[in-house]
């Protein structure tokens, strides 16, 4: 007898690809149609799991294409507080395909949301990046100036990137009833005020996710025709659902929608699906913390190890480290020179200092 299953590869059989295998030995990655070279300009975005990818690329000596990098005066810790260096530009987490499309359209002036700025008790907030600046912006003008240069950074990142790695995170999102503008977080959670008459919950369908990402790819490729995209689905469950059902059911629905959407989208030329979701999920509780939500570092490492093996071209692993700034040291030298020069012409008043010996020294 002959049938199609006789000649399938080991990877196609559960008994050989999965059964009895250690988590680290499970490799569900399909060969990518392209690889990321050392000179490739890679832009990362997506839900919080996407942050791991940017970090991993840096550790592998592969700098992300940063168009809004931290200023060298900022220490790494300070830069992180202000959300610099997390992604290619300072857009924060992008949880839904619609939020991504909206970012591109706002950056290019195609869409201008009615909800422009939120005034809080302690500062001004960007409705579409409510957590980007600790304490909010200090003035409306600071926000407007920051947004202006942020949009320029987004246009440059998306317009010049070679590879876009996007992690699909959620299907639930909150929108303005006025113009459909999508908020990354429900108003009132990090900033702003929730108003049921102005804000509405959306739970995007497969067709909507596909349409939004297709539109994004089409519109970006109008200015960047060679852009290729790697899609992943975040394995991190929902923290909470606004749908009236169990958070586990909501999570499974959301991941199923995103996984099917990704499958449809990778039929487009230059779009590839990397199975981060499957790698983590296959380990059962093995890669999750006790909260059943946080992915352990060794789980992240396994995902990134397979990403390196299959998607990155081999090159020396020299971690990318931000350059130190010696500007302040030099500025100090100039001011101290002035101070030194003052010593050449000291005033004659009571110097008030009787000695240079220290009784405790």
């Amino acid at each position: 007898m002959s049938h199609p299953y006789l000649d399938i590869s080991d990877a196609q059989r559960w008994s050989r690809a999965m059964a009895g295998r250690a988590n680290e030995d499970i490799d569900p990655v399909s060969p990518p149609p392209f690889r990321i070279g050392v000179d490739s300009r890679v832009v990362t975005a997506g839900s919080c799991f996407a942050q791991h990818l940017a970090r991993h690329l840096r550790e592998q000596g592969h700098a992300c294409f940063e168009t809004e990098p931290p200023h060298p005066l900022l220490t790494p810790a300070l830069a992180e507080i202000f959300n610099y260096g997390i992604y290619s530009a300072r857009y924060g987490n992008i949880y839904t395909a619609r939020q991504l499309l909206q970012l591109w359209r706002r950056a290019t002036g195609v869409f201008v949301p009615v909800d422009d700025i939120w005034e809080g008790t302690d500062g001004w907030y960007d409705p579409f990046r409510p957590s980007i600046q600790p304490g909010g912006f200090s003035s409306a003008r600071e926000y407007q100036e920051d947004r202006r240069q942020h949009f320029a950074a987004v246009r440059r990142a998306f317009g010049e990137m070679d590879v876009f790695a996007f992690t699909l995170g959620l299907t639930e999102c909150w929108a303005s009833r006025e113009d459909g503008a999508i908020y990354p977080l429900c108003p009132g959670v990090a900033a702003g005020d929730y108003d049921a008459s102005r804000h509405v919950l959306l739970n995007l369908s497969v067709d909507e996710v596909v349409a939004d990402l297709r539109a994004f790819v089409d519109e970006v490729r109008q200015v960047n025709p060679h852009m290729r995209m790697i899609l992943t689905v975040s394995p991190v469950p929902l923290a909470a659902t606004a749908e009236p059902r169990h958070v586990l059911t909501a999570t499974m629905y959301s991941k199923a929608v995103l996984r099917v959407a990704a499958e449809q989208l990778c039929r487009l030329p230059g779009v590839y699906y990397f199975p981060a979701y499957e790698i983590v999920s296959a380990a059962g509780p093995g890669y999750f913390a006790e909260d059943r939500r946080t992915v352990h570092e060794h789980g992240v490492r396994q995902v990134m190890s397979l990403f390196s093996r299959h998607v990155l071209e081999a090159f020396p692993s020299i971690p990318v480290v931000a350059a130190h700034d010696d500007f302040v040291r030099r500025g100090q030298a100039i001011v101290e020179t002035w101070c030194d020069e003052q010593r050449l012409d000291p005033p004659q008043v009571d110097p008030g200092w009787r000695g240079n010996t220290d009784d405790r020294a």
């Binding site: 200023h71 600071e142 101070c339 008043v349 009784d359």
Partner: protein, 234 residues
């Protein structure tokens, strides 16, 4: 009869000392630049020497501090290779350098604060040691005239540095931010923050040229205005 005025600090005390010398005012000056061994560095922190501590404990009148006062110049006297600017929270309408990237004011403040840590710690020690009230004198305002300042910088000593003085409004904003940090410190500790003499600034808040000393300091005429402030408070 009250004892001499006591002024302690770094290079900004010089203009006051010169004014006192010219006026014959009794002024005791503790200039850290002229006091080798007065500051001890241990385990990454600075503290005043025992000798200076004793001297400060004996003083019973008010103390006028001009400690530090140059961090804004260190950060922004010269144009950074990656040109930056910020929106001053208290005066958001002030001009921005069109060629600069705009950094969050809070981030700039944090950088400036990091340059002031030692000085604020020193002020805390002086405040703790002295029985009298501590007045901290605001640093002199910046001069708007870049050309005038240009001639004062010994550029030859710094090959490879950007030979451009920062735009006036940028330097003004850094000075205001610096003063805000010190003023906040004073408010939190019970010390008094003494703004620069109002006669010394023009309608835009910059130093009048007649009080200019060098790129980083005021002259004796400015010192006389400060001395008068001190006399009134003593």
């Amino acid at each position: 009869m009250p004892g001499p005025l006591l002024c302690i600090g770094h290079s900004h005390v010089v203009c006051v000392a010169r004014a006192a010398e010219a006026a014959g005012t009794s002024l005791q000056v503790l200039n850290f630049w002229e006091m080798p061994g007065a500051i001890l560095h241990e385990n990454g922190t600075s503290r005043l020497s025992g000798l200076l501590e004793q001297q400060l404990r004996k003083h019973t009148g008010p103390v006028f501090s001009m400690i530090g006062g140059a961090a804004h110049g260190v950060l922004g006297m010269l144009v950074h290779p990656r040109r930056f600017d910020f929106v001053l929270p208290a005066k958001p309408a002030l001009p921005l350098d069109p060629a600069a990237e705009v950094l969050p004011a809070l981030a700039v403040r944090r950088v400036l604060e990091s340059l002031m840590v030692d000085y604020l710690a020193m002020m805390s020690q002086v405040h703790r040691l002295c029985a009298g009230r501590l007045f901290h004198l605001e640093s002199p305002p910046p001069l708007a005239d870049v050309q005038r300042m240009q001639t004062d910088i010994p550029w030859g000593m710094y090959p490879g540095m950007c030979h451009e003085i920062s735009p006036a409004h940028f330097r003004y904003k850094l000075w205001r931010l610096h003063s805000q940090i010190v003023s906040d410190w004073c408010a939190g500790t019970g010390a008094a923050f003494l703004p620069c003499p109002p006669q010394s600034v023009d309608e835009n808040g910059f130093m009048r040229e007649s009080y200019y000393g060098d790129g980083a300091h005021a002259n004796a005429a400015y010192g006389e205005l400060v001395l008068e402030q001190m006399r009134r408070l003593a």
